[in-house]
Amino acid sequence: MSDQQYYQQVVSATEEFLGPAAERFVNRQIEFHLGKTPQTISREDIPRLKETLGAALGLLVKDKAIVTQAMHKFDLIIKDENL
């Protein structure tokens, strides 16, 4: 899978939780935590992005099930399975 595809999958998974704010959120986290441009992320970067999304969602909502669901989505990307 290409870097561009990883980026698309990360944005698409985040969109299920943050809707229209997803792309902005992912871009900010990639730039801040990975020091990369958004579309150059690789598979190795996904666990870190998974953690940032988990921490952010934990602060935004009390429902732990939503956070667990989001983490699972990212696990699927790491495993390269279709979402």
Binding site: L18, G19, A21, E51, A56, L59
Partner: protein, 329 residues
């Protein structure tokens, strides 16, 4: 690996806080200016009519001014919160949509203040002219047209904003069924309004020396240049609300929707109550000599609910801003 923690970054810089303080102070002073003008006017006729002393009349004016101040500050709070959120999401379609909604709310605020100044100015001027009824008539005509204009500008901005939001999802703007049902409902409302105007003895010339006419125009001129445009503006507001709710239903994001819910609730309440308030304000002038206290009490209840609506809108916009201001360390 180190455990990550998320925090909200400082949402407002010092300059933003200063700008906010300037806005709140300016609006408070403008409101206080309107109250001062109203208190300064000669209210001896009103005092005589209700068997009150001048002190009691002024006290009542000041007591009624407080909820008014609360509502203008609540409108400003709602508008500024949306505007800040719009700024934080930049030039996206969504950002433009929220910005337009904020401008609509600011237009409402300007209209409310302008309406108060016009009313005060009319009171003051009518004391110093030979024909006070003419001044009252001229001012009521201007005030009604200003109200129609403000209503149109406010709802048009909300419509533009809600359309931009819906566009960002690539959704059809409005369902065919709604395109027939909603205007039909408003045609009925326009007919009811025209009927109420027809039954109002003070519509063109006031039969009471202490109050001016309600419209100051002939019946058909009132219907076609005031009532119909006002009801049409309500229709625009209703369509904006349908778009906004459609955006809420169709947008993605479980968490985004949870945060957006308050905003939609607030906007629904605001558009509905604003229409009710405009209708009640007209009714209060219709029945000024009859059951005024009941209608005034109802208006105060609607004012209270409007303050709540703007707090909901502001809290909704602030909750959405949280996504943009979150920092994970």
């Amino acid at each position: 690996m180190k455990q990550m923690t998320a925090v909200f970054t400082k949402q407002t810089s010092r300059s933003q806080k200063r700008n906010t303080a300037v806005w709140y102070t300016a609006v408070s002073f403008l409101w206080l200016g309107a109250v001062a003008l109203s208190v300064a006017a000669d209210n001896s006729k009103t005092a005589a009519r209700f068997h009150l002393s001048m002190f009691q009349v002024r006290l009542i004016q000041l007591i009624f001014a407080l909820p008014g101040l609360l509502i203008v500050l609540a409108i400003l709070f709602g508008g500024l919160s949306i505007w800040r959120y719009a700024r934080s999401i930049g030039a996206s379609k969504e950002g433009k949509g929220f910005r337009s909604i904020a401008y609509g709310i600011f237009a409402l605020l300007v209209g409310l203040l302008a309406g108060n100044y016009l009313s005060d100015l009319q009171q003051l001027l009518s004391q110093h002219v030979a024909d006070p009824q003419k001044v009252k008539t001229d001012f009521v005509i201007i005030s009604n047209y200003v109200a129609v204009l403000v209503s149109f500008v406010t709802y048009s901005m909300l419509l533009r904003g809600s359309r931009l939001l819906l566009d960002s999802l690539g959704k059809q703007l409005i369902a065919v069924r709604q395109l027939i049902l909603v205007p039909a409902l408003f045609i009925v409302l326009a007919a009811l309004y025209a009927w109420l105007i027809h039954g109002n003895p003070n519509r063109q010339v006031s039969t009471d020396a202490t109050v001016g006419p309600v419209f100051g125009l002939s019946y058909w001129l009132t219907v076609f240049t005031v009532a119909v445009p006002l009801v049409a503006s309500w229709l625009v507001g209703a369509i904006a609300l349908i778009h906004l709710r459609r955006y809420y239903t169709n947008t993605k994001g479980v968490v985004y929707k949870l945060l957006f819910r308050k905003f939609v609730k607030g906007m629904t309440l605001f558009i509905f109550l604003n229409i009710v308030l405009q209708l009640l304000t007209q009714l209060s002038s219709f029945y000024a000599t009859r059951n005024l206290s009941a209608i005034l009490s109802l208006i105060i209840v609607v004012y209270g609910a409007l303050v709540y609506a703007f707090i909901l809108i502001a809290r909704g916009a602030q909750r959405l801003s949280m996504i943009e201001n979150i920092l994970v360390e």
